[in-house]
Subunit: 199 residues, 2 copies
Amino acid sequence: MDNGKTTASARRPGGQRRADAQRSIDKILTAGLKLYSSRPGVSVAEVAEAAGVGRVTLYGHFPSRTELAKALMERTFEETEAAWQSVDTSGPADEALDRVLREQWHLMERNRNLRENVLGDVSPQWLRTRHDPILRRVEALISRGQDEGVFRNDLPLSWMVTTLYSLAHAAADEITAGRLTAEQAPEILSTSLRSLYRP
Amino acid sequence: MDNGKTTASARRPGGQRRADAQRSIDKILTAGLKLYSSRPGVSVAEVAEAAGVGRVTLYGHFPSRTELAKALMERTFEETEAAWQSVDTSGPADEALDRVLREQWHLMERNRNLRENVLGDVSPQWLRTRHDPILRRVEALISRGQDEGVFRNDLPLSWMVTTLYSLAHAAADEITAGRLTAEQAPEILSTSLRSLYRP
DNA sequence: TGCAACTCGTACATCAATGTTCAAGTTAAG
DNA sequence: CTTAACTTGAACATTGATGTACGAGTTGCA
């Protein structure tokens, strides 16, 4: 986030940003996150308008559409990191996974959309290197469950991770389509995954 | 397909197209289908080039990007219709569904991508009215399985349909990513859905 | 208070895609 | 063989998005 490559403005001597600049950046990232994770084909102008900021101001902080996209992904990774650390992953893996799921499935789904919608703006490699650590945490948890004997062992680990994201995505879509309520969704998702993961 | 609204060229008296015109249309639809179902943001020029046809020729048959997209969807619906009729859906619903799945999951997945990638070109209503009949067939089969007692009854029917498409999509992605082979995929998909649907 | 950082609107150059027009050539079909 | 359908490239108008330049105003901070 503070790597200096994502901002084009002059910046004051100490390398510090002025308070109003930081506020602008925050507004841009917040609005951008909402837009980018809701639909594809978002324009820089739209993000600026949604953030209540001039288009030029945006370009002052993010020199290109690509840099904006990267910054959005970075922020998401930070949020995911924070969310992960707020969940208790001790105890039996199946119960731990259930807790993670109920806490984070919104976030998982948003990240997935975001990832898809910036696919044309940043290189797959960049995306992969940054996204892998997140996947690996879920992977490790499932793997632990297999060792403990609470999860099945006859399906590839990567496939189990994929189904988790895939069904979380599907659940979110069903809410959008009005075929599930926000209360039903986590229950149904949890039930489905339990059936799918049971040995 | 022959509704006359999708072509702008003069057309001869009998309402018939000349053989070379029909050939062009076929090439365009074939190439368009391949492109549109492989990635988003396809341009008309790309389709024309991939079809080995002049851009003007394409516009002669499909007056706008939207009409082209509609025609692509129409063709897919026809193909799906044909594929469905080639599968034996008699007998126990779970076995029937398994046959359908193994025969059609490629097609399901392609349709899903296509649908997603034309979402900006045609209205959701149009898409919905045309796509619903297809979903309804799968729905009916699953519903029959519930009546027969071979499928679980504690999850919404719409959710079960969604998971089917969702996992078919995921399986195709895993092949693309190189984490599954084309031979493994149907097996794993089938196994997963059996676990998910079992009462 | 004063200065540098910051914001903003307007304007401009560039680029890529869409859709149209035209004139000349090619081909199917009666 | 003759005609009308069809194809084609080149050229053009339009639109929307990206990114830059400028000049005037605002605001944080020392």
